[in-house]
Each structure stands twice: as structure tokens, then as C-alpha cells.
């Protein structure tokens, strides 16, 4: 049905294009000098018919469910909905929706059946109205475009204005996305901080988001202090960096200074492969291979290693970050001016001395920038820790223990059916806001450093 709608729009656009182009060509053949090429007259018809119809249809489809639902809920009397909590109202909405869809469970009250019927009624009316409106737009658009095919009409300018508008709109998507992220995170976080004070969230030492969903349910009372989660994140990040930094930097040094071109041609893409592996694969690798191996090693040494040890998640994350650090180090070493390297070698320094005592110190700002970006990656990395790290927030810095991270908590709080009205769900957005701010800050600083450093030698 909807596919049909878009097909109609597409065909009408093609039709409009051909009609207008034919008219323009006829005019040209009859000896008149048109301002614009016939193709632009055709494209103008598309801009007037298909484009507005498409935009209209998309906006309509985006909003119709919400509007129809609001109308149906508005029609219900106060004594039917007045006493309900937000959660019950959303339950009621989904019940009415399933009644409208023809799935009636049990014997609902008659007013619910009525609401369902009116919902279904409105929905089908809305569909018909959409079809009618789209057809009207298409017909009117093509008709108006036809009248515009006259020699003096500047079709090219009009089409190019529309194209420019589209391009500006697309460039704005990036800003709109950022604004959307900030708006949604801040809005939901504010709702969270209405229920949980900001100070408790920022400085609390307990994270137990399991709160009762129903009044009679046995569950924790809920504590939302993010310090243990933050500490867990830092522990895993440090483990990851402890793996990634030495391996990444040393392999970059080898590739940059010692490797023959052939080795470099093979090894560099091989390293990049590590960055291309999806993180869910790393997560599976961590729980299946690394964690049991670490546990076995711990048992052999007589150390008690938790099954969800931070070493497993952090170590595997470190492997993921190796190509990241090595490519940044490689770039930074390459950016050091040739004269420094040549000077050092000419004075008789070995290649190892040149790299460690001349090139590396000169490249440190670039490498630090890369490491900061890697930290931001590690903090924001989700799947590895969701699969391999723990769920319980314990305040510990021992990497042998199980710790949890910000991203793990976000995912576990939001997995499954969620409603936006309890602190448990909203807490995820508060954590998300913190995550966004921290990673954004790190990225901005890191990019600054890298850029400054580039200017230094350019």
C-alpha cells in the first residue's frame, strides 16, 4: 500500500519530466529560443510535483500515528483516563492499538472497543486522505509546471535553487543530529534529575538501578550514584590502553623505521583488519577464548579470577585499539620533518636511537592526540563490555574482579520493553549524557592537539 504510494509519486515525477521536456522541445523546434535547456524544464516539473508530494507523504507518515492516537485519547472521558499513571496510559494505548489491529485479548470494556474501532477508522481515513492529498499535489504540480513552459521562463535557475536548497539541507543534517543528540539526552536527563538529585548521581557510591516496577514487587530501592560505574569504565579503559599503547607504538616504530617496503605493504593492512572486525565479534572472542584462558591461568597461579574479569574485556578492547594507536603513531612519525631524521642518522646515530631519541619525542604531541582519541573510543565502546564485562557495579580497582561500565549500564537498562517514565530508563539517558560530554571533550582536545602539532611542522 505504502510502496504503491511511492511508486505513484515516482511515476508521476517521470511523467511530469517527460511532459514538460516534450513541450519545451516542441517550442524549440517551432523556432522559439528557450532560456533554459528542455531537460531543466523537465526537472522543474519534478521539483513542482514529485518533490513536494514526497516531502508531504514522509512528514504525514511520520506524524499521523501520533496525531491519531492523540485524537483517540482525547475523545476518552476523564473518568476513563484521569486516574491512570503514565505507564498505565501507555498500556491502554497499546491495548487500543491491538484492538484496532483486530487482535482482541479477553473481554475489554466496551469503551475500549469503541476507541479501537475509532482508531482503526481514523487510520484508514488518514490513509485515504494521504492518497488524495498526494494525488492532488501531483496533478496540480504537473499542471502548473506545464503552464510554466514558456521561452522566457528561467527553469535552470529554479531547478538549481532547489538543488542548492537540498544540498544546504543535507549539510544541516549533521548539525541537526548533534542538536538532536543533545536535546534528547538533556531532556530525558532533566526528567531523571527531577527524580534523583544531581549531587546523588554525581557523587553517590552506590549503583543499584533495580527498582520495583509494580508496587508489590520485591526489589531493591534503587540507588543511582554513578561513581562505581565510572570507576569500572576507567579500570577497563586503563587495561585496554595498557595493551594497546605499547603494542601499537612499537609496531608503528617497526613499520616506520625497520620494515622493508614489502613487509610494510603486508603488515599495515593486516593491522587495519583488526580495526575492521565488528565489536560484537570481539565480544564473543572475549567470552569464549580470552576469559576462560585468563581464568585457567589464574587457577594455575592460585589467583582467583572472576569469570567477567575486567582483564578479558579490557584486553580484547586493547587488541581492537592497536591499529588505532599504531596508525596515529605512524602518521605522527611521518610528519616529523625529514631533516631531523637525516641529521640524526648523519651524526652516526643508529636507526633505533634516531627513532627513540629524535623522532619519537618530536612526534609525542601527535601520539598523545591519538591516545586521547583511543581513550574516547574505549570509554564509548559498547559490545565488548556488554558481552564480557559484569553487570553489577562494585567499587573496585582490581582488574581481576568483575566491573561494569557506563555503556553496559545504558544497554542493560534499556534492553527489552522500556517506558520513558521511570528513573531506571531515564538513568540510561543521564549516563548517556555523561558519556557524550566526556567523549566530546576528549575528541575536541585530541583534535586540537593533533592540529596544533601539524601546524608546528607544516
Amino acid at each position: 500500500m505504502l510502496g504503491f504510494l511511492f511508486l505513484v509519486i515516482l511515476m508521476a515525477s517521470v511523467l511530469g519530466y517527460i511532459l514538460n521536456r516534450q513541450t519545451a522541445r516542441r517550442l524549440a523546434r517551432s523556432g522559439q529560443r528557450l532560456h533554459s535547456l528542455s531537460g531543466f524544464h523537465g526537472a522543474f516539473a519534478v521539483c513542482l510535483s514529485g518533490l513536494p508530494a514526497l516531502v508531504f507523504a514522509l512528514l504525514w507518515l511520520l506524524l499521523d500515528d501520533t496525531v491519531i492516537e492523540a485524537i483517540v485519547m482525547h475523545r476518552l472521558t476523564v473518568d476513563q483516563t484521569g486516574a491512570l499513571s503514565a505507564g498505565e496510559i501507555s498500556l491502554l494505548k497499546s491495548e487500543i492499538r491491538s484492538i484496532a489491529g483486530g487482535k482482541v485479548f479477553g473481554t475489554p470494556e466496551p469503551w475500549k472497543l469503541d476507541a479501537g474501532a475509532s482508531l482503526a477508522n481514523l487510520a484508514s481515513t488518514a490513509r485515504l486522505a494521504l492518497f488524495g492529498a498526494v494525488l492532488a499535489i501531483l496533478v496540480v504540480g504537473i499542471a502548473v509546471a506545464q503552464t510554466k513552459v514558456v521561452p522566457a521562463f528561467r527553469a535552470r535557475q529554479s531547478v538549481e535553487r532547489v538543488m542548492s536548497g537540498f544540498m544546504v539541507f543535507c549539510s544541516l543534517v549533521a548539525i541537526v543530529t548533534t542538536l538532536g543528540i543533545v536535546a534528547s539526552l538533556v531532556y530525558e536527563s532533566l526528567r531523571f534529575f527531577e527524580r534523583v538529585p544531581l549531587a546523588e548521581f554525581l557523587f553517590g557510591l552506590n549503583w543499584e538501578p533495580q527498582i520495583p516496577i509494580r508496587a508489590d514487587q520485591v526489589a531493591g530501592t534503587g540507588a543511582f550514584g554513578w561513581i562505581p560505574v565510572l570507576v569500572g569504565t576507567l579500570v577497563i579503559t586503563i587495561v585496554a590502553l595498557a595493551v594497546a599503547i605499547p603494542i601499537g607504538i612499537y609496531s608503528a616504530i617497526y613499520l616506520n623505521e625497520f620494515a622493508t617496503p614489502r613487509v610494510r605493504a603486508v603488515a599495515k593492512p593486516l593491522l587495519e583488519l583488526l580495526a575492521g572486525v565488528p565489536t560484537v565479534v570481539y565480544g564473543f572472542f572475549a567470552i569464549l577464548v580470552v576469559a576462560p584462558a585468563l581464568r585457567a591461568a589464574g587457577t594455575a597461579l592460585g589467583i582467583d579470577v572472576s569469570p567477567n574479569t575486567a582483564l578479558a574485556a579490557g584486553g580484547v578492547m586493547g587488541i581492537m585499539l592497536i591499529p588505532f594507536i599504531s596508525s596515529f603513531t605512524d602518521d605522527a612519525l611521518n610528519a616529523v620533518p625529514r631533516s631531523l631524521r637525516d641529521g640524526s642518522l648523519a651524526l652516526g646515530a643508529t636507526r633505533g636511537e634516531t627513532v627513540t631519541k629524535v623522532l619519537f619525542p618530536a612526534a609525542i604531541p601527535g601520539i598523545v592526540g591519538g591516545i586521547l582519541l583511543a581513550v574516547s573510543r574505549a570509554i564509548g565502546e559498547t559490545m565488548i563490555v556488554v558481552m564480557a564485562a559484569g553487570l553489577i557495579a562494585t567499587l573496585t580497582v582490581n582488574p581481576l574482579n568483575s566491573v561494569t561500565t557506563v555503556t553496559v549500564q545504558i544497554v542493560t537498562l534499556l534492553i527489552g520493553d522500556t517506558e520513558f517514565d521511570n528513573p531506571k530508563t531515564l538513568a540510561a539517558f543521564a549516563l548517556g549524557l555523561m558519556l557524550f560530554l566526556v567523549t566530546l571533550g576528549l575528541n575536541v582536545i585530541a583534535l586540537r592537539i593533533v592540529q596544533k602539532y601539524r601546524e608546528l611542522y607544516d
Partner: protein
């Protein structure tokens, strides 16, 4: 470096150069030490590289070793007697296929007569066997009254047994199969009824609670629809934005802001995009959960920076002389772009797009938040039907306790990696084939 400074002193004209005694043991020792340190740095670098490479090898190897088991599935071929009193011709779908299967197994084991033992015997076959038989009979009602020979999948524990993954020497209490059950299976093996064909169900059937029936069809189609939506949004929008920023945008604070924004978006953690999608697409716009449409829109936002950056690089690589020539011949700025710059930049843009889509294919976290990790046993038929995607399916299977899902997860990862390798190979091919040096 100390040696270097000594040399400087030596060559300064005021002091007469002292002849260097190259055989001086102290000097030789210093040189040897320095070369040793040089070698140490090199070996450390080589070692680091080897560690990284061996990790990659370990990763791939463990996946292949685990996953290859799931590419075959143990089947048992039995003669099923479709008697007319078990299945009526009027409603073949309602027939008692469970009983038919029990009878077919009992034919191999006449000594098993107890009801409870017969039920245990039935556990050799997968729960899906009866449905396979039912579908066959429904498709061809002429089979009723006759006997069909059909290979049906065995249940997960016996599949593991056939693949040699069950330690038969372990104490009986520590394994999932009793000695008697193993004995039954050996009887079937000796009767030549057991076969291990290629597991096509892994690709062709949707998800299931039973590992031996679970397949990736739903996830593959879900990923396809998700990527389709992602491509349809991010490709045109990315090209338009990239071209605008490179060719048309005035150099001012506002375009700087857009640029900074794009660079920052590329570094925002993926889970934050999931939060955005959950709050905006699902919460505010009321789009359905678990739908490939929402997944595709989310991934499109994440892929957009990649495509914009690739477009800008490709457009920048087109030499200005081409623009000047077209402009000189009277083309408008837009005509120059659509007629000359864009076609020349297309291979580069396509390469970047494919790489971006490959990243999107492996992206998991945002899809988890919008509910694409639901248990869905149907293949989606559009962008609005709930579905899973390949990476989320891997996550679901990795979380499942059944032993058979371990190898299936690894196999699913192999499928995912195969797609990624294919896409990247295509990108490399495009770059090699159409790369132009001006």
C-alpha cells in the same frame, strides 16, 4: 649520542684531531652496546607486530574451528508411514505427525516399549522434524497412505555427539546424554541412517529456540533492509552535503561549524546514536520498535560523516582545470558539478560509501537499543516488520545457553565477516579499477 658530540669536538679546528683507535676495546664495547640497543628496539617492534598479528590469527582461527561444526547438521533418515488414520486428507495440517515420528523411530528400536522410554527416544529428533514432515504432506497430500523416506535433523545434544563434541568417557552424570541414549544413537549410526549434509538451514531458516533449527534468514533479510534504508538516506544526503561543503559553501563561521560538527559526529560513541534513535524516532515520532526502518535511519546518521568525508576527498581530487574548461564553455556551476565533477568523483565516493556501509553492517549497539535484538521467528517482509540484524543475531545467540549455539554463533560471525570481506574487496577493486592520476 655522546659519541656524536665527541666527534664534534674532535673535528673542531682549534684542537688537533686525535686519531681514533678503532680497536680500542672500550670503544668497541660502546658500539656493540649501541647496536644491541638498536636491535632491541627493532625486535620489540617486530614482537609487537607479531603479537598483533597472532591475535588476529587466534581470533580468526578460533572462529573457524568453532564455526565449521555448524556448517554441517546431523540428519537421520527414517521411513515415515503417513497412514490415513493419523492424517486425514481433508485437513492434512492437523494430522498427528508426532505419532508418525514416534512410530518411525520405534521401528528401529522394537525393544523399547515403555511410553516414557519412547518419549525419550523421540528426543533424538529435532522438535522441528514433525513440522518438516507436516509441510511436506500439506504440500503434497498424495503422500497420505504411503511411506516417505525423509532426512530430518537430530536435536542439539545428538548433533554434538555425532560431531564428536561430547566426551563419552566422562561420568554419565556430567554429560547431557545418558549411556542408553548414546547407545540408541549408535544403533541408528550402524543402520546407516545418520548423515551429515551441508547445513543449508543456517542460511535459509529464521531464528529458533532450538539450535538445530535456528538459521540466519531473518537476520540476513533484516540486515539487508536496514542497510537499504541506510543507503537510501545516507548516500544522496552524504553526496549533497559533501559537494555543497566542497564546491558551493562560502568560507565562513557557519560552514566551519558544520565541518567541526561532522568531524565530531564521526567520533560520537555508537551507543549514543542508539539513545538518540530511542528518544527521537521511537519516543517522539512513534515509529515501531525493532523495525529495520528505524535501524536504517540510525545507521544512516552514523554513516553520513564517512560518506561526506569521502565525497569531499574525491571531489577535491578532481583537477580544477576540468571545472575551468566546463565553465569556459558556458556551463553553470551546477552543470559543472553534475556533468563533470560528480561523475569523475563517483568511484571515490562509491568506495567510501561501501566502506561506510560495511561499518554499518557490523554495528550492534544502536540496534540493541531500538529493540532489534528481539526473538523473531519470521523473515521480515519489509522495512516496518520487526526483525533482527546479523550482528544482533550474533549477540542473541552468544547469549543463549544451549551448547549448539556456540558453534552457530561462530558460524554466524563467519558469515558476517565474509560479507565484510566481500564489501571491502569490492571497495578495493573499485579504487584500483577507477583510480585516476591526473
Amino acid at each position: 649520542m655522546t659519541e656524536a658530540s665527541i666527534t664534534t669536538v674532535r673535528t673542531s679546528p682549534s684542537v688537533l684531531p686525535r686519531r681514533v683507535d678503532w680497536s680500542d676495546p672500550a670503544l668497541l664495547g660502546r658500539v656493540a652496546r649501541r647496536h644491541g640497543r638498536d636491535r632491541y628496539v627493532m625486535l620489540a617492534g617486530l614482537g609487537a607486530l607479531c603479537v598483533a598479528a597472532s591475535m588476529l590469527a587466534l581470533l580468526v582461527l578460533s572462529l573457524v574451528i568453532l564455526g565449521h561444526e555448524a556448517f554441517t547438521q546431523t540428519h537421520v533418515t527414517l521411513d515415515f508411514e503417513i497412514s490415513a488414520d493419523r492424517v486425514s486428507t481433508d485437513a492434512p495440517a492437523d494430522g498427528n505427525f508426532r505419532a508418525i515420528i514416534r512410530d518411525a523411530l520405534a521401528a528401529h528400536f522394537p525393544e523399547v516399549t515403555d511410553r516414557r522410554d519412547q518419549t525419550a527416544l523421540g528426543a533424538i529428533l529435532s522438535n522441528g522434524a514433525q513440522f518438516q514432515l507436516r509441510d511436506m504432506v500439506v504440500a503434497d497430500p498424495g503422500l497420505i497412505g504411503g511411506t516417505v523416506s525423509l532426512a530430518v535433523p537430530v536435536s542439539d545434544p545428538f548433533d554434538q555427539l555425532a560431531k564428536g563434541l561430547v566426551d563419552v568417557s566422562a561420568p554419565e552424570a556430567n554429560r547431557r546424554l545418558s549411556d542408553r541414549e548414546i547407545g540408541w544413537f549408535r544403533v541408528l549410526e550402524q543402520a546407516g541412517a545418520v548423515s551429515r549434509p551441508l547445513n543449508t538451514a543456517l542460511i535459509t531458516s529464521p531464528d529458533s529456540r532450538f539450535p538445530e533449527l535456528a538459521g540466519l534468514a531473518g537476520a540476513l533479510w533484516g540486515s539487508f533492509y536496514t542497510l537499504l534504508v541506510c543507503f537510501l538516506i545516507s548516500f544522496p544526503a552524504g553526496i549533497a552535503a559533501g559537494i555543497y561543503l566542497e564546491e558551493f559553501a562560502p568560507k565562513n563561521r557557519f560552514t566551519d561549524l558544520i565541518e567541526v560538527n561532522i568531524n565530531n559526529l564521526a567520533a560520537v560513541p555508537s551507543v549514543v546514536f542508539g539513545l538518540l534513535a530511542l528518544a527521537v524516532f521511537i519516543g517522539w515520532f512513534g515509529l515501531p520498535r525493532s523495525a529495520p526502518l528505524v535501524g536504517g535511519m540510525t545507521l544512516a546518521l552514523m554513516t553520513l560523516p564517512t560518506i561526506i568525508i569521502a565525497t569531499r576527498a574525491a571531489v577535491k581530487a578532481v583537477p580544477p582545470s576540468i571545472r575551468d574548461a566546463a565553465l569556459a564553455l558556458g556551463a553553470s556551476k551546477h552543470q559543472v558539478v553534475t556533468g563533470h565533477v560528480l561523475p569523475l568523483a563517483m568511484p571515490g565516493i562509491l568506495t567510501g560509501t561501501i566502506i561506510g556501509l560495511a561499518q554499518a553492517l557490523g554495528e550492534t549497539a544502536p540496534l540493541l537499543l531500538i529493540g532489534m535484538n528481539a526473538f523473531i521467528t519470521q523473515v521480515p517482509d519489509g522495512v516496518m516488520t520487526p526483525s533482527t540484524a546479523l550482528p544482533t543475531q550474533i549477540f542473541i545467540w552468544a547469549d543463549s545457553p544451549e551448547r549448539g549455539f556456540v558453534s552457530r554463533t561462530a558460524a554466524a560471525i563467519c558469515v558476517l565477516l565474509a560479507f565484510l570481506v566481500l564489501m571491502n574487496a569490492l571497495a578495493v577493486y573499485l579504487r584500483k579499477r577507477f583510480e585516476r592520476k591526473w
